[in-house]
Amino acid sequence: AQSVSQHNHHVILSEAASLELGCNYSYGGTVNLFWYVQYPGQHLQLLLKYFSGDPLVKGIKGFEAEFIKSKFSFNLRKPSVQWSDTAEYFCAVSTRGNKLTFGGGTRVLVKP
């Protein structure tokens, strides 16, 4: 069965700092990759997804992620964070259909 690892459980940074969240998965076949975000008090929502093609994908709110197949990684980045990016971020992998396996999540706190 596949698994998903997110390296950092908590990240604290100041506004305008750059953000990179690591995600690695364990599965040798074709995967679909996702980042979901949960803002305080809100439901989980899709940030971006990768199915095929350009390994650099852009999502909402200035986020992007890069799929590196050789490293089994799908890291999330944002060049300059805002206070409103405070949230919990989840990486997820799908190997068939719509059944997603999620990582443990990373809580990001952006200090104003």
Binding site: N32, H43, F51, F90, T101, G105
Partner: protein, 114 residues
């Protein structure tokens, strides 16, 4: 706007009680899921359903059962609640299609078992 509605945002139950968590989606999605969310463990799949009256076990089905009598409704049942089932429960739905994978989530039901 797509919507997944969970009937209860907060519940407090006693050990041994039977608990029903209801979820309704208005998007005519075929797939529905129940996850539990715990700090540091992310989301873990309990059960899912690809069609009415159909169910499949996820990664942590023990202590849970589900019911899907209608396409729009997916219920999670705790036959005899235990304290280790204190958690946030998330319902999600998605449309059929290999690899679409985008789940639409409800706001969650926070269950406390005393």
């Amino acid at each position: 706007d797509v919507k997944v509605t969970q009937s209860s945002r907060y519940l407090v139950k006693r050990t041994g009680e039977k608990v029903f968590l209801e979820c309704v989606q208005d998007m005519d999605h075929e797939n529905m899921f129940w996850y539990r969310q715990d700090p540091g463990l992310g989301l873990r799949l309990i059960y899912f359903s690809y069609d009415v009256k159909m169910k499949e076990k996820g990664d942590i089905p023990e202590g849970y059962s589900v019911s899907r009598e209608k396409k729009e409704r997916f219920s999670l049942i705790l036959e005899s609640a235990s304290t280790n089932q204190t958690s946030m429960y998330l319902c999600a739905s998605s449309s059929v299609g290999a690899g679409t994978g985008e789940l639409f989530f409800g706001e969650g039901s926070r269950l406390t078992v005393l």
